[in-house]
């Protein structure tokens, strides 16, 4: 199947809309044969009647896309009723041959943020369930599910991106097509290819980029994506569709890492000391090489909590690395953290593996930020270890977390994720939102830890920590319940 994917046409006055780009993209569409033409939203600039009329005339002149979804701009000024009048139902399904296409309205009227409401979410879920045996499953929406690089602060994200991402991965959706940020991007997460289109004809591009579109070819064994810029350059990505399910030859074990987060030590009942002590006892009997605590050591950054934390953590046998969460460095915590637990950015090396922590937290703020200078220095420093297994750890998540409202917790997560993928960092450990989660994006395994011992967990499995076994050929992530010690495999992946 061949798909021609355009987005963010922003049909309007010439101050925004570049008709030459629009015509050129259509010319290229008409010069080849495609099975589907997809427009992933922001058809118009302001949701105005004149803009919808103009877009309709342009589509009449050429050919209407097979699937269109509304973007945030299309829902401005009551634009949704016009979308329904000129285009049709913003949500729905299309089924042909062995293919399922689900289109989703992810916009919120007069807001740039996106949200997939409960009714629409259930529509997506019910259709993915009903047609789960289709060979090719495609989801189309405007807002991005995964942070996009080169687009400044990570904002206007889908607020329940984590839930939708979980749904997409759970139902083995093959392809997700999106737009919104006017910057083309492609990632593969687990067995799903996430494709963002740039803007096909808006004059607002980023970094002096030109307008672009994507072509996607889906075959039995692979999905190929071409980002085609209108200056006649292109970027090519190819991903295999076949997923490995059974693992048996792991090779020698190189290291076992314990990952934990949100121990939440305090004098209050929110800290569950029994869970902490039971976890400690199990970890000391686990033959681990290292413990990485991904933030949330204490409930608040006050001396009494830090005194308790130091005492409790001194009883762990393996060496410990820490990175702070915002709560660790509020009040006097900014001074107490380095005094009690060492540098904000900690580092460790063992048996060909390099671990580097980066502090993503800011005091008195839940929002994380790395910053351009720090990020640049971080990845330059990783270049010295190209032949080694590399692990980055920080508190804030770089991939949306299920069951947590996604507000762009790490403001520059788009750029950080891009650098992580570009530099083939082998493993990234995060510890926010108290939800255990592990996935592979391109060549990088990303693992988020649940809360070790706080009452604030989002998992039915209870409080837990993760064991990460690094073998010669594989990485295995297992979640261990803090209290009972029962285990759940979160994922197994081949090392690249």
């Amino acid at each position: 199947m061949k798909i021609f994917h355009i987005s963010d046409s922003h049909v309007s006055s010439p101050s925004h809309f570049n008709i030459d780009s629009f015509e050129k993209a259509y010319h290229e569409y008409e010069n080849d044969v495609y099975d589907l033409l997809i427009h992933s939203g922001d058809i118009t600039q302001g949701g105005q009647k004149e803009e919808y009329q103009k877009a309709s005339e342009l589509f009449d002149k050429h050919v209407w896309p097979d699937v269109l979804v509304p973007g945030n701009h299309d829902k401005r000024s009551g634009g949704l009723s016009l979308f329904e009048k000129y285009i049709g139902d913003p949500n729905g399904v299309k089924i042909f041959d062995d293919t399922l296409i689900v289109r989703v309205d992810s916009g919120v009227p007069d807001k740039n943020d996106g949200r997939v409401g409960m009714v629409t979410f259930n529509m997506v879920k019910n259709n993915l369930k009903k047609y789960q045996n289709k060979d090719l499953k495609i989801l189309i929406l405007h807002h991005h599910l995964v942070p996009i690089p080169m687009t400044g602060r990570e904002r206007n994200v889908l607020t329940n991106a984590g839930d939708l991402l979980e749904l997409v991965l759970g139902f083995d959706v093959d392809l997700v097509l999106m737009g919104h940020k006017h910057y083309p991007n492609v990632y593969k997460i687990e067995n799903t290819v996430f494709v963002n289109a740039g803007t096909v004809s808006d004059k607002k591009t980023r970094h002096g980029d030109v307008n672009s579109y994507n072509t996607i070819t889906v075959e039995k064994e692979k999905i190929d994506v071409k980002i085609k810029r209108l200056d006649d350059t292109e970027t090519f990505h190819s991903f295999p569709r076949k997923e490995k399910h059974i693992y048996h030859n792991f090779g020698a074990k190189h290291a076992r890492i314990v990952q934990m987060s949100n121990s939440y030590i305090s004098q209050s009942s929110k800290f569950q000391k029994t869970h902490f002590e039971k976890a400690r006892s199990k970890i000391n009997n686990t033959d681990s090489d290292l413990i990485i605590h991904c933030g949330g050591i204490v409930e608040e950054g006050i001396k009494k909590n830090y005194d308790s934390a130091r005492k409790l953590f001194s009883r762990f046998d393996p060496p410990l690395l820490f990175t702070p969460a915002g709560r660790d460095i509020n009040y006097l915590g900014y001074r107490l953290f380095p005094h009690y637990f060492g540098d904000f950015d900690q580092e460790y090396e063992t048996d060909g593996i390099i671990f580097k922590g980066i502090s993503s937290s800011q005091y008195d703020s839940k929002t994380g930020f790395i910053g351009e200078t720090e990020r640049k220095q971080l990845f330059e420093s990783f270049q010295d270890y190209e032949d080694k297994f590399t692990c980055l750890f920080l508190h804030h998540n770089v991939i949306p977390i299920p069951h947590a409202r996604e507000k762009g917790l790490l403001e520059d997560s788009g750029d950080l994720l891009h650098d992580i993928v570009k530099h083939n960092i082998d493993l990234v450990l995060t510890g926010t939102s108290s939800h255990p989660y592990a996935l592979k994006i391109n060549n990088t395994v990303i693992v988020n830890a649940n809360s070790l011992s706080s009452v604030y967990t989002r998992s039915f499995f209870g409080n837990s920590y993760n064991l990460i076994d690094i073998f010669e050929k594989n990485i295995v992530v297992t979640e261990i319940n803090s209290l009972w010690g029962n285990k759940k495999i979160l994922g197994i992946w081949e090392r690249e």
Partner: protein, 143 residues
């Protein structure tokens, strides 16, 4: 039976969304000692047995107990001698309820999950038991 499941698993909850689509295997020519070591390393209660990358059998902790230790067999016994070569499978497009029914009908606690004739995951009885253990934890750890 499904009445005891938490609300979110009631009714027609799809198996695909619930099951981990990764599982651990061992060569059928390996010894039961190696199999026991693998189960211990990963703290799992079953393994699929492979021959030339094809699944040819399935073994559980219970097989080790009944077919090796209780009979006084050597730890060098090959997995192929004790594995179950009749594979009980369920299609991933079915529901949790149907999977549980399959387990009850066959009197088993492990069920292989398949898609397009390929085994892609495993469902174990303990998966259901651990789902809502947080309620119990909250009771125990009231401090």
């Amino acid at each position: 039976m499904t009445q005891n499941l938490p609300d979110f698993l009631q009714g027609e909850f799809p198996l695909r969304e619930f099951v981990t689509k990764k599982l651990i295997g061992i060569q059928s020519s390996s010894t039961v000692q190696e199999a026991a070591q693998k189960m211990t390393d990963f703290n799992i209660s079953s393994l699929v047995a492979l021959k030339n990358d094809e699944v040819v059998g399935f073994m559980t902790e219970s097989d080790l107990k009944k077919k090796v230790v209780a009979l006084g067999k050597s730890s060098d016994t090959p997995v192929s001698e004790i594995m179950n070569d009749k594979l009980i499978k369920i299609n991933i497009n079915l529901t949790i309820k149907e999977a549980m029914q399959e387990m009850v009908d066959n009197d088993i606690k492990h069920l292989l999950v398949e898609e397009n004739d390929e085994i892609i995951g495993i469902l174990t009885f303990t998966d259901f038991l651990t789902i809502e253990q947080q309620k119990l934890e909250t009771f125990i750890a009231r401090e």
